[in-house]
Symmetry: C2
Subunit: 248 residues, 2 copies
């Protein structure tokens, strides 16, 4: 690996390599992201890339790090014009999180799948990758008296888990189609992660325990199996244990 003395030119080439890698990833997925493909896209031979990156893993790590920066500024933009305290800000953050995961599916997948070769180098996940914004918004909401008085890190992590889980599951499984959850037909209104997150807002704010005269009745629609239905609509076949594959 030569030393790449000219820093300007080197930085330009490096950036164009990273751009090419990002484009290939977004267009054709991680499997299509080969050193030869990236090199061809920037008009170099594959071995030339090794002047700029130690190996493929290092290149991918850089792509991921860039993804986290882009993710962070995406979240920042989502907060523009949203008042700086209360649940609105957190709702906007969650919605942006889900929107990003859908618009940048491949990016999002590798961001939380690839583990960097050198785990010391992660100033990105989650410290710089949006977590600070979330934590700050949580602290604001607590200070404004709109959120319970608990460890802001714990609350931030709780909200992050919920939204991240929803984003991940939305990518792995299409709720609104054949991969139906239960036998409830959600395809009717094209259930998306973002729509679900709106519905989850009530649960996040008020919890799951029953309460008298709870707020928003909209989430209580389409409820036909409560109070008397016992184990619910699936109760009849719910007890099949299917133990055959236990030791596999």
């Amino acid at each position: 690996m030569p030393k790449l003395a000219d820093p300007l030119r080197a930085a330009e080439t490096e950036a164009s390599i990273l751009d090419a890698a990002r484009d290939i990833l977004a267009e054709d997925g991680l499997d299509a992201l080969s050193m030869r493909a990236v090199a061809a896209r920037v008009g170099l031979s594959a071995t030339a890339l090794y002047n700029y990156f130690d190996n493929k893993q290092a290149l991918v790590d850089r792509v991921v790090a860039r993804g986290f920066r882009r993710f962070e500024s995406y979240l920042w933009r989502a907060l523009e014009g949203v008042p700086s305290s209360g649940f609105d800000r957190l709702q906007a953050l969650g919605a942006a999180y889900l929107r990003f995961s859908r618009e940048n599916e491949q990016y999002f997948k590798i961001m939380f799948t690839i583990q960097p070769e050198d785990p010391r180098e992660i100033e990105q996940l989650p410290g710089g990758g949006g977590y600070r914004i979330l934590r700050e918004s949580v602290a604001d909401a607590i200070a404004a008296g709109q959120m319970r008085d608990a460890d802001p890190d714990l609350i931030a992590l709780y909200m992050w888990s919920s939204v991240h889980g929803l984003a991940t599951l939305s990518l792995a499984c299409d709720f609104s189609s054949e991969c139906s959850c239960g036998d409830h037909d959600w395809a009717e209104d094209g259930m998306t992660g973002e729509r679900l997150f709106e519905l989850f807002g009530e649960f996040l704010a008020e919890g799951l325990k029953p309460r008298n005269g709870s707020g928003d009745p909209t989430v209580n629609t389409a409820n036909d199996a409560s109070g008397v239905g016992g184990t619910g609509r699936n109760g009849s076949r719910g007890n099949r244990r299917n133990v055959d594959d236990r030791a596999s």
Copy 2:
């Protein structure tokens, strides 16, 4: 692909191939899972595997499907002896979910990462893969009056998202060490996903909105930045926008 007329022998060989693939995956990760490696482990040549599986993707899909079945029976076992209504059952489910994700890290990762070649074949995710158990437990809790009266699918999905997000983030980022969330030092008590899930129980049940005389005060310890701290401990450097990488 010959017809494999002897069904008993064929099923045995197929099972041993799947076992080998599962073992390699668990021991050395997805990158080490090659047709040649699997074949060597069962004492065959790589091409022999094509008598039993169309291609590598089909083999991996079967491994994933087996993983889901194992996952499901794992969750079932976690419910043995737990009373069949109320939050206890859901708490046990969540804890088992996180335990499985830690004990079977590689398995868990590909279960929700790999997307099957033929998406019709997913009777596994999430229908058979534990979702039914969760939904049933939710319906039980609603029927017992221990949970609010809302669409059980919606509640189940909410809880699933929370736990799944926590599991995924726990694997991608070690909360208790260098990848510290915020500047809060959680390494003191070796923060794990399972421990976090215990702490989240209060939020899941009671919500995040403030309430007078809220229940468990243990989650309110270690809280030093609320009420007056404004934007929290990171407020000073929190406003760096870092817009440089916007178009990358």
